[in-house]
Amino acid sequence: MGAALDRIARVDPALRAFLQVTGERAREEALRWDDRYARDAGRLPPLAGLPVALKDNLCTRGIPTTAGSRILDGWVPPYDATVVDRLRDAGAIILGKTNLDEFAMGSSTENSAFGPTRNPWDRSRVPGGSSGGSAAAVAAGFVPFALGSDTGGSIRQPAGFCGVVGLKPTYGRVSRYGLIAFASSLDQIGPITRTVADAALLLGILAGRDPRDSTTADLPVPDFLAELEGGVQGVRIGLPREAFGDGLQTEVRGAVMGAAETLRGLGATVVEIELPTIAYALPTYYLIATSEASTNLARYDGVQYGLRVPSADLHAMYTETRRAGFGAEVKRRIMLGTYALSAGYYEGFFLKAQRVRTLIRRDFETAFASVDLVLMPTSPTVPFSLGEKTEDPLQMYLADVYTIPVNLAGLPAVSVPCGFAGGLPIGVQLIGRAFDEGMVLRAAHTYERATDWHTRRPRDMG
């Protein structure tokens, strides 16, 4: 623990992965675990004494939680998220809260009200987003595990950009209780780790029905670790034609096709498939997610928590608090969503998007009748530079073209490292049937064992 904290103190000022490090508390807890280890090493819970970092949109009792926003600056939650309870029960020690795009809205962590996080592989570049802090913390070797959240790619894309593993479980697999909501039909919490086995371990701890989140599925949680070693002999993998067209950087295409070839060499059958509606996924997502966000963020009004701008009357308090507390991207999305839901536009925008969402889900269902996994790039490019895409919102949104369809369909997906271009990490995405994380993790693990991308480390800066 001391080593981890020292490393963070030396290296994190250059990266800003952490918004907060709970060093004192972590050291105390570590000492208690040392003690228990000395007394009873055989009967410790699975994560005993291991440090974990949490994205700062996860509520932690007694530890300030900001969602990367000024509107919650200084707010201390009175409760722990369910995933936090489960990590603590498993013995993990919370080392700190990591940086994110404000309210998880972004693809680069540049929308954080507290400054961006930098990519450990190249500090002039973004770590991805919105879980950029968590991905950077794992890539920089601060912690072996971190939690992120994924609404349109916010675990997978930063994991890809930082050369680590990022898993988004099936919608309903992990409880969202205590996750500060962005888009309630799309959000999921998941692990960011060095290896697929670690992700499997963590998923087993986090997953399962929670009476406090009625969208969690009442399904048994498989032993994901036990399912890792099956290999991929006979596993059918589909590559969607639409995901390998224009807009995909040449080096990324090469690395991702290379991953497909490696899996073929390991015994998988690799075929081309079609997902014709994914070309429409971006507008579908940005209408549904922003609509849901406009509702979820209506609660930030200066009344119950966080920032309040003193005002003469209630209405002014609402508008001035929200003006001062929200950043530009959040305001933009709230307005887009409010518009899409407003009278006269609801049918043409929100409802239309919900119908297209059904078509996208059907595309995946059709695909999974003939394949067991879909393989796609995680991102169209290698990590871009800070400031490169902040001028035009649409340019930033396009960074998520390959991750967004998966959230719309509610499916599980993992990003694993599959190569480098100019020293910058490239991720490949494996997508499975609903609740079939076992197959997703098995294929990812098999690929990882046959390669060494996951052993590479960024040049040490400290």
């Binding site: 009175p78 919608y171 309903g172 209630l314 518009y339 059904t358 509610g410």
Partner: protein
């Protein structure tokens, strides 16, 4: 489709106060985004049901029995202003008719 008056209306619905510069900037950005999103209209969704939820759960209910709540004091301790067990806010004064 989206002009300055619409942006003003939407901002009022969303309880957001905007500066003139913000209004102009967001009008342009929202117009550009919505122009891009118009591609959805080219898809025929006549006979397609909207996706209400992805997990197809039905009627997740529980017995109407009180369970544990957050402790009131802890919640109010984190509030900007509280008094006598209530969240305290400035007076409601009708400064304009509600939208």
């Amino acid at each position: 489709m989206i002009d300055r008056e619409t942006v003003d209306y939407v901002a009022r619905l969303a309880r957001l106060a905007l500066s003139d510069e913000e209004r102009d900037r967001y009008t342009k950005q929202l117009a550009d985004l919505l122009a891009h999103f118009a591609m959805l209209q080219t898809l025929d969704t006549e006979a397609v049901e909207p996706t209400a939820d992805v997990v197809t759960l039905a009627n997740v209910v529980r017995d109407d029995v009180p369970g544990p709540c957050l402790p009131r004091d802890a919640v109010l301790a984190a509030a900007p202003e509280a008094e006598d067990g209530y969240f305290k806010v400035p007076p409601v004064i009708e400064t304009e008719s509600a939208p």
